[in-house]
């Protein structure tokens, strides 16, 4: 069996798993998991980050504790707990995909929360003070004054975290979730003689995903800078 035979036999399996006969898997599942993970972790992380800097102790302390616990734990442990320990307590067996998604969202939102907190605290104190002096509430100050500025500064760190999320989906392997790493391992077990090539292709796949995301973010950043420069020059000339 040559390498091109392996590719022509398994490429579809690599991309979508056993779909449509079986569950969706492979690269498609990785993409779905990463996208959902990002889309859920961002708003949750934003809320946790706001709670971290909020003036209300009853909110700040438990959230701070949660973030400290999660940050002090490997994601692998979170996945294990969610998959093996949680069903024992709740009596409900959750599937591999929801388990992995929950673990990712919990883990990443805690890291995102710290990025949000740093972005907020990085602004001059006077911004918040002048907004509060006008009579704006704490929440209105955050929404109208602080976050619009902080989010722009946070963009590079956010992208960093998003790239991490994509790579973290590979831990789904450990609980038998059929994402792309799991599928690649399956192929390797069946073919047996091309481990280097198979894992090289797997590595390249992750690289292309992460690299495209970082290029997209770079383009986004440049576009927003150009736009504000254009707005500025339009103002000067009129």
């Amino acid at each position: 069996m040559t390498l091109s035979d392996v590719i022509s036999t398994y490429w579809l399996y690599f991309l979508i798993g056993r779909f449509p006969q079986g569950p969706l898997g492979g690269l498609a599942l990785t993409l779905v998991l990463a996208t959902l993970g990002l889309m859920l972790a961002l708003p949750v992380g934003l809320l946790l980050g706001l709670a971290r800097v909020s003036p209300w102790r009853a909110l700040r302390w438990p959230i701070t504790a949660l973030i400290f616990v999660v940050r002090g734990t490997p994601l692998l442990m979170v996945v294990f707990w969610a998959y093996f320990f949680l069903p024992g307590v709740t009596g409900i067996q959750t599937g591999q995909f929801p388990t992995m998604l929950m673990a990712l969202v919990l883990f990443d939102s805690c890291y995102l929360a710290e990025i949000v907190r740093a972005g907020i605290l990085g602004l001059p104190r006077g911004q918040g003070e002048s907004a509060r002096s006008l009579g704006l509430s704490w929440l209105a100050t955050m929404r109208l004054v602080i976050l619009p500025q902080a989010l722009r500064h946070m963009l590079p760190s956010l992208v960093n975290q998003f790239i991490s999320t994509i790579k973290e989906t590979s831990l789904g392997y450990i609980i038998g979730l059929g994402e792309v790493s799991f599928v690649a391992t399956q192929i390797n077990t069946q073919v047996f003689i091309y481990p280097t090539a198979i894992y090289l292709i797997l590595g390249l796949t992750y690289f292309v995903l992460c690299f495209s995301l970082s290029r997209f973010a770079f383009w986004l950043e440049r576009r927003s800078t150009r736009q504000s420069a254009r707005n500025a020059s339009a103002l000067v000339t009129t």
Binding site: L144, A232, L235, V236
Partner: protein
């Protein structure tokens, strides 16, 4: 209108405000001066509760403003505050800086908020810069927009915390000009500043602070002409020397 009743404040071991008692009447323009670290900024910041106090009371129209349960946001909208560092919102235009509070708090329509904001910008001589971002304005222009912004909620009192200290010398005049016109219109004002010209021209009273205490209070003529406290005399000769050197 504003009354301090034996107010004390500590930063840890440091006694920042020492038994401050003072009354500021409606329509009065009061300048607070003193060496740096004397507590004058702390004092003015306690009036809209940017700084908490440890004992005593501060009354605003007979309401204890440091009591628990006060609607702090409503109260603050009745007090205009102008900062040394301007603190304009850099992501918003001059006009948007002036409409953000009325639109959000008074729930007035966009059109009405715009018209009022434009009128205020016109009052500080910057209607033509309404659509400029703060980064496109000079320091003096930014501070004038900040004054307009502080006026948007139509407060009966304006507080100024060293409004000209961060400005290049040639821009000080335009800001003082706006403040003088406010004073002439009868606005109640408390101003922390070293601008003696301003103090002489429009101020009803001068308070001199050092080490957290109000050591001297009087009319500008009395204070600048015949300061009684030795530290006040020292302070006045120090700022005169620096004014000559500049």
């Amino acid at each position: 209108m504003i009354r301090f009743d034996n107010v004390n404040k500590w930063y840890g071991q440091y006694h920042a405000l020492v038994n401050v008692s003072e009354t500021i009447a409606k329509g009065e323009v009061v300048v607070v001066c003193g060496p740096s670290g004397s507590g004058k900024s702390t004092l003015i910041r306690t009036i809209n509760r940017l700084e908490p106090i440890d004992s005593g009371r501060i009354l605003f129209e007979n309401e204890d403003i440091h009591r628990r349960g006060l609607d702090i946001n409503l109260f603050r909208s009745h007090i205009g505050f102008v900062f040394q560092q301007f603190n304009l919102f850099p992501h918003l235009t001059a006009l948007q800086n002036c409409t953000i509070a009325p639109m959000h708090l008074k729930r007035v329509g966009k059109k009405e908020a715009h018209e009022r904001a434009l009128a205020l910008l016109d009052r500080v001589g910057l209607a033509h810069k309404a659509h400029a971002l703060p980064s496109e304005l000079s320091g003096g222009q930014q501070q004038r927009v900040a004054i307009a912004r502080a006026l948007t909620m139509q407060p009966p009192v304006m507080l100024f915390d060293e409004p000209t200290s961060a400005l290049d010398p040639e821009m000080v005049g335009e800001v003082l000009h706006v403040m003088k016109s406010l004073a002439r219109d009868g606005m109640t004002m408390v101003v922390v500043t070293h601008e003696m010209g301003f103090a002489r021209e429009v101020t009803d009273r001068v308070l001199f602070m050092d080490q957290g205490e109000i050591l001297e209070r009087g009319t500008p003529d009395a204070f600048f002409g015949r300061p009684e406290h030795p530290r006040a005399r020292q302070f006045l000769s120090d700022i005169r020397i620096s004014a000559v050197a500049a």
